[in-house]
């Protein structure tokens, strides 16, 4: 398998890093090599945030329990890895996952004719921002590819009373509609590993909600 490139965008505080962690864990569960990149700090305070997940090339047999540690045989494993750079190249995304409409559109530089564009129909307003109609117009004009504009925040608020899990809902949507080459049950396992146990049920519901919708 070639490398599968995901770009996730949104605004600070929308849970991007949780999504990145889940996708990385799920990739490892599948036996893929994986790298991610994210940003922390001030850029997260309500600003635009983008993060990347790249996985592919099965290098870790899923059943293998332990491998010799690096310092024992003095081989530094990075030299044999499948995914090198943690950054997605321009026009190199297989999937763009936007947690906010404008921030999804902002990722258009990663799109090529085959990229799948999945975005939350949700606006986090700011002074000087664009109205929804204008953003949708631009998306429809510029993104000629397969696109899914899903009101995930609204659905999560109405069905679960928790807008905060809209990212997980979109992840579930992508997984169940086969937009990501990772098995839904492994992603769910990864969610269980990453999110705090008392929030797992809510996240699981959000993840599975997309299957029925």
């Amino acid at each position: 398998m070639k490398i599968f490139n995901i770009v996730i965008s949104g605004t600070g505080g929308q849970g991007l890093i949780t999504l990145i962690q889940i996708l990385a864990e799920a990739s490892l569960l599948e036996g893929y090599d994986v790298k991610t990149s994210e940003l922390h700090g001030l850029s997260q305070r309500g600003g635009s945030v983008e993060a990347y997940v790249r996985f592919g090339q099965k290098v870790y047999p899923p059943t293998k329990k332990s491998s010799r540690s690096a310092q024992n045989n003095k081989i530094y494993p990075c030299f044999s890895g499948g995914v090198y750079s943690p950054l997605v190249p321009l026009a190199g995304a297989d999937l763009v996952l936007g947690l906010e409409l404008l921030e999804g559109l902002r990722m258009i530089r990663y799109i090529n004719p085959k990229t799948i564009f999945l975005v939350n129909k949700y606006i986090f307003p700011f002074a000087g921002g664009l109205p929804e109609e204008e953003i949708l117009l631009k998306i429809n004009g510029l993104v000629k590819n397969e696109k899914h504009i899903i009101p995930a925040s609204k659905i999560c608020q109405e069905e679960l009373g928790a807008e905060v899990v809209s990212g997980i809902y979109l992840l579930g949507y992508a997984a169940h509609k086969n937009l990501i080459p990772l098995k839904p049950d492994l992603i769910l396992k990864a969610i269980e590993k990453v999110v705090p146990s008392k929030r797992f049920e809510l996240n699981k519901k959000a993840f599975e909600l997309a299957q029925s919708n």
Partner: protein, 597 residues
């Protein structure tokens, strides 16, 4: 066992597997998660197992090690505390962001002269492209030249772990502190990393073989040895001589080390060594750029020999000479300043004077590298045409960071806007309140570095008397308001405050006390009564410190509404001398998190 780790977590994993005992830090992005992770471990475990025995030997019974962790008041203090622990034989790790090393450098240089007793690794995280750094795009590798300290540069999270362990080994062998220099894309990169045991799991999962790091003996405490531990005028040149000799010994180690690795062209794919472009072209690379080089090779279908340098200092000069001796062209791929390029140009003069050396000719000196920039440079030197994929561009309004909706600073800034007369000068400092510089506040006339708002204000105030004498300004003396956060106050604000009072400054200081070090992700500080180990300690009162410094006009406002701040600001601005308002209210994000628990 493979575990997904963030680069910074991998450093912690490496340090724990190496048997670290003493960890100190001051938070700063992109290094902050190192402290956060240690805080969690130290709090939950305090004691953790390490494997005894030497490398390659079969695993023996577990030994238990202790780890002490602290958030220090600043990076210099963090380093100095670790120096004391090292002089007492402990294995130490100190973590900071790029600018932290500037603060710590006063202690760093003499430490290189005395050398360490217990091994010490100093993690310094640079931030090319300034994703979370305002004050400069610093390349901390320059400290190698200034201090004569070995610097290792990992390229990914696995190497971050492995190089941490190796750095401890080097430090132990040569009694020198070692810097592990990362960048944002290493520190904030996740990947599957080989771990010997899970740091925050039950002992059951720690049964894997491995470890192999000598459990450093400790418990003897500080044993007097002024010969080693004192830098004195009569000895310092002798110590320098020994230091330079030590660096040459470490250079020999670096020559043999496989983290300085030559990857020969295999000749199996794409351009072979026989083809005109592929022949005699090589790449020298360090840090995360290695990953971009590998990706560029793959995408350009090239097969060039690569020298990957894990050591930035001291450089394995023989290995480099050996690598370049039969090449016609070499591309040096490094982020920011061309330090390696300059070194290689000097080495080539004696080793291969016809060698064409490229680096910053095709690569930017500003901003981090990526696949695209490296692919462009590589295609240039091999003369291969490479068209980058066309990216669609769209012009969109920028969304800048801003204060959180319920941030207590909204009230303070709102009141300042109403109370301050036209022409008031506003001093900024490092923290979330830097957003005073953005609309709608626009309350920041200068901003430099940690703790500087008050001291710069002092200079401005003194200079204003010159302005008054020379020009007839109708508005008279301008008012100055400087902002400073609680953690910044403890970090380096106190000497500035003392100077302001001592030298008869005239300014209003507003301490933005949100009860936490907020911007870097909520680390405790001396004002809020919790240590990095989670212990409860007495809160150190900013108001009492300010009073002890001789500030008379001082008011702490807890919570507080705009009108209350407004009237106190107006009152204090009318007074001579240094006055202080402490705006005390917990960070809104933290309050929300605390309520959830």
């Amino acid at each position: 066992m493979k575990k997904i780790l963030l680069g910074n977590e991998a450093i912690v994993q490496g340090a724990m597997e190496a048997g670290v005992n003493f960890v100190s830090t001051y938070p700063g992005t992109p290094a902050s998660e190192i402290g956060n992770t240690f805080a969690k471990i130290a709090k939950e475990q305090g004691v953790y197992p390490v494997k005894s025995g030497v490398a390659g030997a079969p695993p023996q019974a577990e030994q238990f090690n202790r780890v002490y962790f602290e958030f220090s008041t600043n990076e210099k203090v963090a380093l100095e505390a670790a120096i004391g622990a090292s002089f007492s034989g402990l294995k130490c790790l100190v973590a900071m962001k790029s600018f932290g090393l500037n603060v710590a450098s006063d202690a760093l240089l003499p430490l290189c002269y005395t050398g360490t007793k217990g091994p010490m690794v100093i993690v310094v995280a640079d931030d090319p492209s300034c994703w979370s750094s305002g004050q400069s795009e610093q390349n901390s590798r320059a400290f190698a030249y200034l201090a004569h300290i070995p610097i290792l540069e990992p390229s990914d999270a696995q190497e971050a772990k492995d190089f941490t362990i190796l750095a401890f080994e080097i430090s132990e062998q040569f009694n020198s502190p070692v810097i592990l220099r990362t960048t944002t894309r290493v520190s904030h990169q996740r990947m599957p990393v080989d771990v010997n045991y899970e740091l925050l799991a039950s002992n059951a999962s720690r049964s894997d073989a491995g470890g192999g790091i000598k459990n450093y003996e400790f418990g003897s405490g500080f044993i007097k040895n002024p010969e080693q531990f004192c830098v004195m005028p009569n000895r310092v040149l002798e110590m320098k001589k020994k230091l330079l000799e030590k660096i040459e010994s470490i250079r020999k180690f670096a020559e043999k080390s496989n983290i300085n690795k030559i990857e020969k062209a295999s000749g199996k794919m794409g351009l072979s060594r026989r083809s005109p472009q592929g022949a005699k072209v090589g790449i020298i690379v360090s840090g995360v750029s290695y990953l971009y080089v590998k990706e560029a090779m793959e995408k350009l279908n090239l097969d060039l020999p690569i020298l990957k340098l894990g050591f930035f200092y001291p450089l394995p000069t023989k290995k480099i000479e050996n690598f370049i001796k039969n090449l016609k062209k070499v591309l040096v791929v490094e982020e920011l300043d061309p330090y390696l390029e300059k070194e290689i140009k000097i080495l080539a003069k004696s080793g291969n004077c016809k060698l064409e050396i490229f680096g910053k000719d095709f690569l930017p000196e500003i901003g981090e590298l990526n696949f695209e920039k490296v692919a462009f440079a590589v295609s240039k030197i091999v003369g291969k045409k490479y068209v980058l994929s066309k990216a669609i561009s769209v012009d969109l309004p920028n969304r800048s960071p801003r204060l959180c909706p319920n941030c207590p600073y909204w009230v303070v800034f709102g009141a300042v806007k109403r109370a301050a007369p036209a022409g008031t000068i506003f001093g900024g400092d490092i923290g979330c309140y830097m957003m005073a510089g953005f609309a709608p506040h626009n309350l920041q006339d200068y901003l430099l570095c940690m703790g500087s708002s008050v001291s710069v204000a002092h200079g401005i105030e003194k200079a204003s008397s010159f302005a008054k004498a020379s020009a007839d300004k109708p508005e008279g003396k301008k008012k100055i308001i400087s902002f400073m956060g609680d953690s910044t106050f403890f970090h380096s604000g106190i000497p500035a405050l003392i100077n302001a009072v001592f030298n008869k400054s005239n300014q209003l200081i507003i301490i933005m006390d949100n009860r936490i070090t907020a911007m870097t992700g909520h680390q405790p500080n001396p004002g809020m009564g919790k240590t990095g180990m989670g212990e409860t300690v007495p809160e150190i009162s900013i108001e009492k410190i300010a009073r002890a410094c001789g500030v008379e006009n001082i008011k702490t406002i807890e919570g507080g509404v705009v009108s209350e701040f407004e009237s106190v600001i107006k009152e204090f601005l009318s007074k001579e001398g240094v006055s202080i308002i402490i705006a005390k209210q917990v960070c809104a994000l933290l309050a929300k998190r605390l309520n959830k628990k």
